[in-house]
Symmetry: C2
Subunit: 235 residues, 2 copies
């Protein structure tokens, strides 16, 4: 990662990566204890702990509480949390401009939805349909609606089945959550917007079900761009 | 990030994120010292240090060496390193299947290259051209060629100008670097492959220059799929 000589915590990270690559460590397994790793790599225990936090933040392991033989961190592969943390912080620090985040969502979601619509085998859209119905409830607050809205988009992406795209989409969405919410809060007539979003969501799902790949892609692109257009003239 | 109560290092992370969002912290600035943050958030200094490592791994800050008023970590926004670490570890731990990584590269790069070709204003391809010429050198080893090859793809993406896509592409490429190298190493006739890749690279650049967006996209997609097809029957 760095061009300088790797520091203690980076050596611990590199060691875990190579153990994963070689299959010496696999998901669900407990990683070697702090003391063992520190001794083996000749680094301080605090450096091992720092590397463990980094791995936890990247979604590669989950710390266990307690001590004794049952303690120790478990390897897992849950990239979503790490992707979300990375993107949120980069958007917060202006490393990722919001318009680039929105454009990237358009690219990935258009592709997912078109690919899904183009499939010849039947696609399971039960989760998507459930969310569409849930969003019809008239008593939903803006915030509640937006939570379901985010789940709808993620469910469509998940149905397409690419795990890298799913993690990226989730991170992209999380990184502009504050921004998305601010747009909703600033709208004079939330009811009109919610009704438009409901209709657009159903039209996207219908195009996927009908197998019209280009139309499904165009609809999802227009839907995302339309929402952010009010606030960002660039989109 | 977690559903449980945030732990000490997570609270430090959340604090830095909100300081960035509010503009109290900006890129190039020094973040508050370890002791100050620990005191303010009522957490141990080791928790602050753990959070700093996480931020460093995510490309949000760079640790400074030395002590005194000049010491302390500097805020920066260099998402590439963090994205690369995250994706490499997730591929190593089987969280991201290699075919999904390849498919995601195809989606993002097709989109970048098509978008670039579709522009009406002139596009600066000098970096791309320089790399094409460098790859023509007959004495290049497989490894040297692959390094330039990676730079060529990244230069095309960078020319399109979406910083989120650029960071993602860089991470995707890094995460399957070992795998890419293994394919090259296993080829009987590297010379034939290198010549094919050279011709394909030039054809992609030509389509971008000619402004034929669909052709540029198709060529880049076929180029990436073709390379991995030998090793992964799914692609």
């Amino acid at each position: 990662m760095a061009t300088a000589a790797p520091r203690a915590w980076e050596r611990v990270l590199a060691r875990i990566e190579s153990d994963l690559l070689d299959g010496r460590l696999t998901p669900g397994q407990r990683i070697p204890g702090e003391r063992a790793l520190a001794g083996e790599l000749n680094v301080g225990r605090s450096s091992v702990r720092e590397a463990m936090r980094v791995l936890e933040a990247l979604g590669v392991l989950r710390a266990q509480t307690g001590s004794g033989p049952e303690a120790g961190a478990i390897i897992l592969t849950r990239p979503t949390g790490g992707m979300s943390a990375l993107m949120r912080l980069q958007v917060a620090g202006r490393g990722f401009p919001v318009p680039d985040v929105v454009r990237t969502r358009v690219i990935l979601e258009t592709s997912s939805v078109s690919e899904l619509a183009a499939r010849t085998e039947p696609v399971d859209l039960s989760e998507v349909d459930g969310l569409l119905d849930a969003m019809d409830a008239p008593e939903l607050s803006r915030q509640e609606f937006l939570v379901l809205d985010a789940q709808f988009h993620l469910a469509l992406t998940r149905a397409a089945g690419n795990q890298v795209v799913t993690a990226m989409m989730s991170g992209l969405r999380d990184s502009i959550e504050t921004y998305t919410g601010r747009i909703a809060a600033a709208l004079d007539s939330w009811e009109d917007t919610a009704n438009r979003l409901r209709a657009e969501h159903r039209a996207i799902a219908a195009a996927v079900r009908d197998g019209t790949a280009d139309l499904a892609g165009e609809r999802v692109a227009a839907h995302i761009r339309g929402y952010y257009a009010a606030a960002t003239p660039e989109e």
